[in-house]
């Protein structure tokens, strides 16, 4: 029993004012056949001290990135979070308020979301941004739905195989009942082959999805892909790593119509996958199809500049079944974190972070190749993440275990999603990683391979082009 401020005496006075004898009488009109009898079978109440001990005990049964050096990526990254981000996000005027339905007493949130929208347009080079969606994967699905509804009659959605497999899976779920044709484009060389793409893009194509850098960390020929896409009258959705935009060209600059991003890298804790932040920006033309909340500038009765929720007629609480999306609760606090993060870093800070990631990732890949005999899986240029081949799936498992014991989360085994890549590892390097850490990891892996009396390592990439799967749903 906690957080119940009424005293017994007050309860009595309140019951009297209501005109009932007991609290139970307040429920007397509930049919007895739906009343739950007895007590819920859930654990008993804990005092704050016990709860603290219990949760600390659970937390200590995990091993976090503060204990192991983290080279894991795959869409969630161990970037540095400046102290100001946590500090601002801990302001309870921000986090214990709700959607700013009353603008007069919500200018704090409204202005933050307006700043967020602006920052996202600056980051992506596109015209408009909403005030956040759930995460990168669901945002991609929403973006595809936008394209399908905008591109009347076009049903084809082209998804390269190097788009994050979980994003592709979510897209499949969201489109499971939609009359659309998902074309999965094989990417045997890690990146999209322009000719292959040109062959499948046609006048039935609603959109092409481009992940830049892609799931394997490789940098795509974005402008070329954009040209091919637009030549067929299709729309281009770019899924980007926001940190990469410190050095790479922005989606708006190469002609993307919609940009989607997972915002976790922008000051959000890893937190085993959530809550994260779905970033969605687009060209002005798609404004009315944009899902989620929008904050707009206006003036109050005294002529003072201020901010309000606007264009709500797109939204579910007004438009109901005709809404652009069903989203209501979004990721406001995460948008605040991203806002503070981007403001704290500024253009030069973001560039510095991006360059550190890039330089360090290249350093590590080279070291792993030279000193531990790991061949890159792909030859394409990459940003902060790269895949390397081990000898066998078994070796991947062994090496990861050895690395974990030595204090490293060394990489993600790709076999999890790509059976044909079961001998490969995906390794991410953020600005937090030091030369010393990378040298140590290299030494550990090299020594493990030597110890294993390893035979000559197969230096050919074992990736065989997967056959082009065409999934067409209903």
């Amino acid at each position: 029993m906690a957080y119940l401020p009424q005293t017994e005496q007050e309860v009595k006075a309140m019951l009297a004012a209501i005109g009932v004898q007991s609290i139970d009488e307040l429920f007397a009109h509930l049919p007895s056949d739906v009343r739950f009898q007895g007590q819920l079978k859930i654990p008993p109440a804990l005092s704050e001290l016990e709860l603290t001990q219990h949760m600390e005990d659970l937390a200590q049964r995990n091993v976090g990135t503060h204990q192991k050096v983290c080279f894991l990526g795959g869409g969630a990254y161990d970037h540095f979070i400046p102290a100001v981000v946590d500090f601002i996000a801990s302001r309870s005027e921000f986090y214990t308020s709700y959607t700013p339905y009353q603008p007069e007493v919500s200018q704090g949130n409204l202005q933050v979301f307006f700043e967020y929208q602006t920052l996202i347009t600056q980051l992506t080079g596109l015209d408009v941004s909403n005030a956040s969606l759930y995460d990168g994967a669901t945002t991609l699905a929403e973006a595809v739905l936008m394209c399908l509804s905008h591109q009347t009659g076009r049903k084809r959605v082209i998804v390269p195989q190097n788009v994050h497999p979980e994003y592709r899976a979510v897209l499949a779920t969201y489109l499971s009942h939609v009359s659309a044709e998902i074309i999965t484009l094989a990417t045997p060389r890690g990146i999209i082959d322009a000719d292959s793409l040109a062959r499948v893009v046609n006048d039935q194509t609603a959109c092409v999805i481009l992940q830049q850098p892609n799931f394997f960390g490789c940098v795509e020929a974005a402008r070329k892909i954009s040209e091919i896409t637009h030549a067929a009258g299709a729309l281009l959705i770019a899924v980007v790593d926001p940190i990469s935009l410190g050095v790479l060209r922005r989606p708006g600059d190469y002609g993307a119509d919609i940009a989607v991003a997972e915002g976790q890298s922008l000051g959000l804790p890893l937190a085993w996958g959530g809550p994260y932040l779905g970033i969605l920006a687009c060209r002005e033309a798609f404004l009315r199809r944009l899902p989620g909340r929008l904050v707009g500038q206006t003036v109050d009765r005294r002529g003072q500049r201020c901010w309000v929720l606007t264009l709500q007629t797109r939204e579910q609480h007004i438009r109901r079944e005709k809404a652009t999306s069903n989203i209501c609760t979004n990721q406001g606090l995460m948008a605040l974190r991203a806002t503070v993060y981007l403001a704290a870093l500024g253009p030069h800070g973001l560039r510095a972070v991006a360059e550190l990631c890039l330089q360090k990732a290249h350093y590590l890949r080279e070291r792993l190749q030279r000193e531990a005999g790991f061949q890159p899986l792909f030859n394409a240029a990459f940003f902060k993440e790269f895949a390397v081949a081990a000898e066998s799936p078994a070796e991947v498992k062994t090496l990861l275990e050895i690395a974990t014991d030595a204090g490293f989360f060394a990489g993600i085994p790709l076999g999890r999603w790509f059976p044909e890549l079961a001998n490969a590892l995906l390794i991410a390097v953020t600005e937090k990683r030091t030369q010393a850490e990378m040298d140590r990891l290299t030494a550990i892996l090299a020594s493990a391979r030597t110890r294993a009396d390893s035979r000559a390592i197969d230096r050919k990439s074992s990736m065989t082009p997967s056959s082009q799967r065409t999934v067409q749903v209903e």
Binding site: V11, I18, G19, L26, F27, V34, Q39, L40, P43, L51, T52, M55, A59, N62, G64, F87, S92, F94, Y95, Y98, P100, Q102, Q107, G108, N109, Q117, T118, A131, Y134, T138, L145, V170, T173, Y174, S176, V219, L248, P269, L270, A271, W272, G273, G274, V295, Q297, D300, R301, V308, H317, A323, S325, N326, C328, T329, G332, G349, E355, L356, K360, H362
Partner: protein
């Protein structure tokens, strides 16, 4: 100063050093990345010094009303107290610093908590299986409807409609659309409950799901719920229970016992998660056994006592509904809250939420009509129709004037079945003194000069904004003066 935008505070060249110089040999970027993919300049973000940044955001924060500062009786949103202990514990490094793809052996403590939460939520629901993945209530609705679709597909049935009461939240029909269904509205009767005749007339072999919020958005318990469930099941449909209002019935009524086949929770409401200015929330979905195989992947399962893993191999699953595993820190707060309350505490929470609402109802209905107001659950809906007619004071006017007195406004103009609606949900964490002060203020406002009320609020950071202007010529981002049309 607080209302200057970050972009207006920008002073090129004043940034702090957040990251160090590179400690590995650097190579020219153009050697590493094709030059045509490289940006010439970084994005044109603002440059604000840390002192200015902090002052900016702290001052902005003070422009908000929030649960921590004000009574916030926003109907249907359950703005209860958000316990600080839960925030602290959900943010422990052992939870916050976990990568979603690290070895499962290294996250057993977390998996244990989540697995326990699954079981607890199943028990409260009176159902058998739970997914924690959905990111919000509406996402839970979508997930559940996709489960229903998969269920019928698996059974070889082709059902196309979702029936939804007219008092439902807008997310219900919107989710139905996203899940590929056509929504059909069911009328309310004069008691504010489902009109059974209307429901009967719309139930048929096309009916996939009946979505019901119970208690409903008028704050009324749907006493016909078992009968409704039987009717829906009779035509082969499923009953979905929108759990938005679970704060009224924990340990008192279990949706599963009422005949519901599936439901979602809003942990950020019922289980005291902070609302974050709009999110994040979470939307765990509970289902009965016959729907368990269709839950999204992955599902957390216990393989041996105290050993947990992720089950991804579920052939009938609807697939993934999001990346990774869920809004973990929201779920951990819910777990901590439930563990604090225990079974008796949860029941007591609901009892007190209903007590507070009925007390406020008893006070309010003496001066403001509450058409469906004999006995409410956790909230009630008053109507300003009469005072609007007699003194030209609207629900919106009342809402705005309340702000002057330091109260957040109730939800207004919802549900749509009632005109000039004021939907008031006090929650159980408010004191009698606060409820009394709120009722007294509401009464006093009704007697104030209408002009004063029309012009309200008077003491807030801004007065009423021009929403029409905002929508007519949308300005959705800051633009440098040189670029902007009107300066």
């Amino acid at each position: 100063q607080a209302t200057q935008l970050l972009f207006e505070l920008s002073q090129p060249g004043c940034a702090e050093a957040i990251v160090p110089p590179c400690d590995v040999p650097s190579r020219p970027l153009a050697e590493l990345v094709p030059p045509e993919e490289l940006a010439e300049t970084p994005p044109p973000l603002p440059e604000v010094s840390e002192p200015a940044l902090i002052r900016h955001f702290i001052n902005l924060s003070q422009l908000n009303m929030s649960v921590d500062t004000h009574f916030y009786p926003l109907g249907s949103c359950t703005m209860k107290y958000n316990p600080k202990r839960n925030d602290r514990l959900a943010q422990l490094p052992g939870f916050a610093n976990l990568h979603p793809y690290q070895p499962l052996e290294t996250v057993q403590g977390l998996l244990g908590a989540l697995h326990a939460l699954q079981q607890i939520l199943a028990e409260i629901a009176g159902m058998e299986a739970v997914t924690l993945q959905p990111a919000a209530g509406a996402h839970g609705e979508l997930t559940a409807l996709l489960i229903a679709a998969a269920y019928f597909r698996h059974r070889g049935e082709h059902r196309t409609t979702v029936l939804i009461p007219d008092v439902a939240h807008g997310t219900n029909p919107a989710s139905a659309t996203m899940a590929g269904f056509r929504s059909v509205q069911v009328k309310s009767n004069t008691q504010g409950l489902v009109d059974l005749e209307d429901l009967r007339s719309k139930l048929n072999a096309q009916t996939a799901v009946f979505m019901i919020t119970n208690p409903n958005t008028l704050g009324l318990f749907e006493t016909q719920i078992r009968r409704i469930a039987d009717m829906v099941h009779a035509v082969g449909g499923l009953v979905y229970m929108d759990g938005a209002n679970m704060n009224a019935v924990m340990g008192i009524v279990r949706p599963g016992d009422c005949g519901a086949d599936m439901m979602h929770y809003n942990p950020h409401k019922t289980f005291s998660g902070p609302h974050g200015g709009g999110g994040p929330g979470a939307g765990p979905v509970a289902v009965k056994k016959h729907l368990a195989d269709f839950l999204p992947i992955p599902v957390i399962v216990e393989t041996a006592p105290g050993q947990y893993t992720l089950d991804e191999n579920r052939p009938l699953s609807i697939g993934r509904v999001r990346s990774f595993y869920g809004n973990i820190s929201v779920l951990l707060r819910a777990y901590a809250y439930i563990r604090t309350q225990g079974p008796e505490g949860l029941r007591r929470v609901s009892e007190r939420a209903v007590l507070n609402a009925n007390y406020l109802l008893a006070r309010v209905r003496s001066f403001l009509p509450v058409p469906y107001g004999h006995r409410c659950m956790h909230e009630f809906v008053a109507s300003a129709m009469k005072i609007r007619a007699s003194r030209n004071i609207s629900a919106m006017d009342i809402a705005k004037r309340l702000l002057d007195y330091g109260f957040h406004a109730p939800t207004v103009y919802f549900p749509l079945v009632l005109r000039e609606a004021l939907m008031i949900e006090p929650t159980e964490t408010e004191t009698k003194a606060t409820l009394d002060a709120f009722a007294d203020t509401l009464k006093a406002i009704l007697e104030e000069p209408p002009e004063l009320v029309h012009e309200a609020p008077h003491t807030t950071p801004i007065s009423r904004p021009d929403e029409v202007l905002a929508a007519r010529a949308p300005i959705l981002k800051w633009t440098p003066v040189s670029e902007s049309a009107s300066g």
